[in-house]
Amino acid sequence: MSGANDGRTLKFHILKYDPQQGGDKPRMVTYEVKEAPGMTIFIALNEIRETQDRALQFDFVCRAGICGSCGMVINGKPDLACRTLTAKFKKPEITLLPLPAFDLIGDLSVNTGSYTRAMSERVRTWIHDEEGKQVDLNELEERMDPDLADEIYELDRCIECGCCISACATKRMRDGFLGAMGFMKVARFAVDSRDKRSDSDWYEVIGNDDGVFGCMSLMGCEDNCPKDLPHQTKIAYLRRKMVGAAR
């Protein structure tokens, strides 16, 4: 509830573009909003829509930094708009662009859903275990080492917001590049003892230039991940694993 900057007038410079409207061209539009204590970009954008521009498009669902809907480029950095307080910016100017690398629906709204579904199908983001399918649900569950459960959870925290994909230089150059979101999924399932896929199975998925060998390790992903996933260590780990699998 930082109220340090009460009373400022904020200038929002927002990319407006409706690809479905014949003749419309991308352009920047500026809106002025009076800053209120505790104001987030979620609050500001809704106010703009209600009072200034009924056509303005953006996506929020949880408004609590949990669901990954609201990724956008905020003053140059991909981040979750719902949990970004306007007070965080010393200058009262906030530029908002839609996340690049995803299909644009309109203004700040992009289609992450079609992307993540395709990513899930490519990585096959589910437990692969033929025997598991026969489990009797009435019986005691299979045991798991408590530390392993914690370790899986750490990697399972990805909210598929797409910030890492938007910040990735390789992705910009290679459209087919799997990207950090996909790598984090691979890392998550590879560490899970319930998933019986072997290194050579994983090699099929990421053992190439569209996979982990294409990564330039510039860590745009880790720097921009709102959930602080351990990209650097995990990508390095996957690369070692794949080099091993290639031998």
Binding site: P37, S109, P146
Partner: protein, 655 residues
């Protein structure tokens, strides 16, 4: 007219919808899921604290089983629930937790040996058994006699939703995203699917199916401040209401969660208190033991929320520009515990409040949180009036929660309902013919098309303004404590808004992706729902669970042991029609009694004593029977065969 066909149409891609879809897909049926947003972003992802299932693997869960879970659920509901449904649920919940384990949920596991926990503001050491090492653990939650809430740190809903959605992807289930069902297609006795608006192109599409399941979640956003996601606007409930045929149940049963942050209303999980967090007032004084010496901070939610409100009314709240609040103190849990098990809470405090909960108190107050009411169904999940229409999850009133839901019972319900209702949906699809009258379908699509054209064409009322006024009325007059006079004002005010909403329009005239048009379609529906809540609350002259009437403080089993049903019989009506469905004491397994927390202030039902005696006699007549046989003799219930099995627990086997 674009038409899409399916056997099983599921409206909603949260936990309940996806699990139902998996059930019908597994039975070989062509299954399509509709969702406003990518499925993994559904509100279910926001559940933090956990999922109840009586696995009894932690030492503090020892002795837990279906009977205890059932009893807690019935008490929690203030005897308003359908006890057969609560039984179906309690028996299936352990299987649901275990199934999710095989699907990838990284449940927090039991670790052998001693560990420190905080119970009643004191650090105590509990020692987990060697034998239980690696089994699924559980934490304490409000209103439960055992530690029964299975969890993954405080990201339980997220890990569950990801596991279930990934499973749906494995099965190749189509999820049609950014689609909104805006009307059900029916002929007065059978439902044939839905009219769906594509939120990108604006196109109307007829989704025609043998069975339609609504799994659209709650209606929390009828209130100005809610812990719910911004899309929890009750649209599935509303389109069922607008059939004029299907009834809603107990719409006035709305839960307020004790600890949402001020001012924005984002939740801090009940796990904070379950793990030992305390509520404190402006003097830093822990007040709950004064009101609830037994369960203290961990009485059921309706009770804690009311006690907090009472305490603030005594002038003990902390003043702020956004009104009074109280403090949630989790500092005593320590940095390590908070960073590991309450990490989302920590992030929320940092980002939205700029505080560190390891060192500072969190400003909280009771906030709208859960919708117990919803589409009234049979225990199979099917509407009692429209065949082929089913409901599962928070949207439904089958009715597991009565007038108050226990923490951790909702995500458990979504999965369990998906498992059970999914089987009944599949049975229905297998029985039903494919004979779907295209003229009926066409008429519904044309009606919706015309309504949208009218909204765009006319000049009139502003959707945002109507919505704001509705949300304000609900906040001020249909809240935690309710009064006849306020409720009457609410009904009158909402009725005025309803009349105005018939003239709703938009400034932005685009037919395709147009957020204002989305509002203009939804707001009149939301106002109708708000009226079912307000009218139900006004008519119910007693207090039960979350419905607390200051002018009728007692729970009145004699006159009100029933379920409110509401209909919108005619489009031109400006109020819902209410009827009541009695709960039959003589067939209850647990006749009405006291909850053991909250004020015991009741008027008894005339049958209660008789039933208590009868149950005693049944028990005495079978001295050698086990608990399952006794249960069956007292209150038999149905379940799909695959979920009837007994549940194994460590140390006690299948007993």
């Amino acid at each position: 007219m674009k038409t899409v066909f399916a056997d099983s149409l599921i409206i909603g891609g949260g936990l309940a919808g996806l699990r139902t879809a998996i059930a019908t897909r597994t039975r070989g049926l062509d299954t399509i899921v509709l969702s406003l947003i990518p499925a993994k972003r559904s509100h279910s992802a926001a559940a933090q604290g956990g999922m109840q299932g009586s696995l009894a693997a932690t030492i503090k869960g020892e002795g837990d089983n279906e009977n205890v879970h059932f009893a807690d659920t019935v008490k929690g509901s203030d005897w308003g629930c359908d006890q057969q449904v609560a039984r179906m649920f309690a028996n299936t919940a352990p299987k649901a937790v275990r199934e999710l384990a095989t699907w990838g949920v990284p449940w927090t596991r039991v670790r052998r040996g001693p560990r420190q926990v905080v119970i009643n503001a004191e650090r105590v050491t509990i020692t987990e058994k060697d034998d239980n090492h690696g089994l699924i653990s559980a934490r304490d939650f409000g209103g439960t006699r055992k530690w029964r809430t299975c969890y993954t740190a405080d990201g339980t809903g997220h890990t569950m939703l990801y596991a279930v959605d990934n499973k749906a992807i494995e099965f190749g289930i189509a999820v049609h995203e950014r689609k909104e069902a805006i009307a059900l297609i029916h002929d007065g006795s059978t439902c044939y699917g839905a009219v769906v608006r594509d939120l990108i192109t604006g196109e109307l599409i007829a989704y025609v199916a043998r069975a339609t399941t609504i799994a659209t979640g709650g209606y929390g956003r009828l209130y100005a401040i809610s812990t719910n996601s911004v899309i929890s606007e009750g649209m599935g409930t509303a389109i069922a209401l607008e059939t004029g045929v299907a009834s809603l149940g107990n719409m006035e049963a709305v839960q307020f969660h004790p600890t949402a942050i001020v001012p924005v209303g984002i939740l801090t999980t009940e796990g904070c208190r379950g793990d030992g967090g305390l509520l404190k007032d402006k003097d830093g004084y822990r007040f709950m033991p004064d009101y609830e010496p037994g369960k203290k901070e961990l009485a059921s939610r309706d009770v804690v929320s009311r006690r907090m409100t009472e305490h603030m009314r005594k002038g003990k709240g902390v003043a702020s520009p956004y009104g009074d609040h109280l403090w949630l103190d989790i500092t005593l849990l320590g940095k390590e515990h908070i960073e590991k098990n309450l990490r989302e809470v920590k992030e929320i405090c940092e980002y939205f409040l700029g505080i560190d909960p390891v060192k500072e108190y969190i400003p909280v107050r009771p906030t709208q949180h859960y919708s117990m009411g919803g589409i009234r169904t049979k225990p199979t999940g099917e509407s009692r009036q429209l065949s082929g229409l089913f409901a599962a999850g928070e949207v439904s009133c089958w009715d597991m929660h009565g007038f108050n839901r226990l923490g951790g019972n909702s995500v458990a319900e979504t999965i369990v309902a998906g498992m059970i209702v999914g089987e009944y949906v599949a049975d229905y699809c297998e029985r039903s013919s494919v004979d779907i009258p295209t003229s009926v379908v066409r008429a519904f699509v044309m009606r919706e098309e015309a309504a949208i054209t009218e909204i765009i064409g006319r000049s009139g009322e502003d959707p945002y303004e109507l919505k704001r006024e509705m949300q304000q009325i609900m906040m001020e007059k249909v809240g935690i404590f309710r009064m006849g006079s306020d409720l009457q004002e609410a009904v009158d005010g909402l009725r005025g808004l309803l009349l105005r909403s018939r003239n709703i329009t938009v400034r932005n005239k685009a037919r395709h992706s147009n957020p204002e048009l989305v509002e203009a379609i939804r707001v009149p529906k939301m106002i109708k729902l708000a009226l079912t809540v307000a009218c139900g609350a006004l008519a119910r002259t007693e207090s039960r669970g979350a419905h607390a009437r200051e002018d009728y403080p007692e729970r009145n089993d004699r006159d009100w042991l029933n379920r409110t049903l509401s209909w919108w019989k005619d489009e031109k009506d400006d109020l819902p029609v209410l009827e009541y469905e009695n709960l039959d004491v003589m067939s209850m397994e647990m006749p009405p009694g006291t909850r053991g927390y909250g004020k015991a202030n009741m008027i008894a039902h005339p049958d209660t004593e008789k039933r208590v005696k009868q149950i005693e006699e049944i028990k005495e007549s079978m001295p050698n029977a086990d608990r399952f046989e006794v249960q069956r003799a007292i209150m038999p219930y149905d379940l799909p065969e695959k979920y009837q099995g007994k549940n194994e627990r460590v140390g006690v086997g299948f007993e």
